[in-house]
Amino acid sequence: MIVIDDLEKEFGGPSGPNPVLRGISLTIEKGEVFGIIGRSGAGKSTLVRCINLLERPTRGRITVAGRELSGLSGAALRAARHDIGMVFQHFNLLSSRTVQGNVSLPLELVDMPRGLRLRRVDEMLELVGLTDKRDAYPAQLSGGQKQRVGIARALASRPSVLLCDEATSALDPETTKSILALLAEINHTLNLTIVLITHEMQVVREIADRVAVLDQGRVVEQGAVFDVFTQPSHPITRSLVREVLNLELPERVSSRLRHSPQTSPGLVMRITFTGPSANEPIVSEMVRRFGVSFNILHGHIDYIQNAPYGTLTVEAGGSEAGLQAALDFLRVKSLKVEILGRVAAPDRAVA
């Protein structure tokens, strides 16, 4: 649906050209929700603005729905843009127009007859659940309602692609959830391709099918959201994932890890559960079978695209043989085990 081929973008600066995108190639399939995540300044907005040519690429090609945009200008470019909706962080609604007027704007631009236009506007307002706000002005709406208007406006011309640049970043967590749910619903019912720019892994996890991680103008990692989440390879991805999953060890444990000799008896490890094993009573089975004691330091279960994903950080104590057997048991169960270190003496054991 969208093919980005070796895209580069430089901005002229006082000290020569400043490369912001450095050779980006991505293929976004029809009907998928594709997340692009990265820290502030990574080049995400520039990238998404290149897709509808609000920024002109320095080099490289952009193809949307089989039409190469990078060569277009004037009326041909404007026509192509009617097929690409865009939603903004700060909504960008006209304060002088009612909700109805705002949603109607993209249709007025192509001179759609009034009757048809009003019907389409009503249809869009119904879709985003704002029918009762048709005659309100943006100043009378909440942030979430404004973004719903933004989405209705972006969809009014029935585009095949929706670009969202930090569409939920100005909203509180509750409202973010409802807007993401709306986007997911639209994605399903209209089979609309959605490109979602964000700096929050939470957002990607909620609705994206695939994700690309952007850092300093490069795609450093991409893949299915579940894979990137459970096996992040790039440090940026890890830190973004960690923010969501909150995997940091408590300071008390990490300082004990630092100060204990490697020959200490207590073993601190992080077990990652994915898929069906997340529901199995693994820990109690190990206690029973290998006589190992566990002190749970940190635990977390999460759902990514409805698949359970959990991590458990434990301090294990027992005989070397018992610990070894427990590790083998975990590996047989194909769980991911990371040994974080050894600690002098297990804390008071549980289980």
Partner: protein, 220 residues
Amino acid sequence: MSQRLIELLLEALWETVAMVGVSAVLAALIGVPLGILLLVTQPGNILARPTFNRIVGAVVNAARSTPFIILMVAIIPLTRALVGTSIGTAAATVPLVVAAAPFIARLVEASLREVDSGLVEAAQAMGASPLQIVVKVLVPEALPGIAAGLTITVVSLIGYSAMAGAVGGGGLGDLGIRYGYQRFQGEVMVAVVAVLIVLVQVVQSVGDYAAHRLNKRERT
């Protein structure tokens, strides 16, 4: 107040209103598009034409920095060419328009500049042409500011028209000078000033009301 004085005042008021009204409309017809041009042709704007922008900007500035009384005299040939005479109410509208149009242009430009660039970007993303951006986004969004600018212009024009009146244009200024100053009839001067105060007050109130009604940025 004598019947005669009231008649004089009414006649002068009518001349002033006609002079200011006609020049304000003409000045707006020239100044509003000029202000739009000044904004959209700026470097980096939707119809960037830097050279054109600089030239028009310089002309506008020149007109604005010329004192009205000098401007009035300097363009007498133009006035003669347009209305056939340089004396009278009709002739006075020419310098008034020439003075007010650049003033309006700058005020309009400033109002348009206040429009959030995100709105222009949203319109561009929808595939709006530069003309559509002006007509559907910039002007409607800047309308409260433009209305306020036009109000200021009309108030200034009332002041300038008194000056134009003094050199034979008729109107309240002319009346005040002829009777109040040259014939030492202080009460005429006072009456003229009182009428001017009321006139300005009315214009300002109407303008404020219009700007307020056009502004949808505040809740309800």
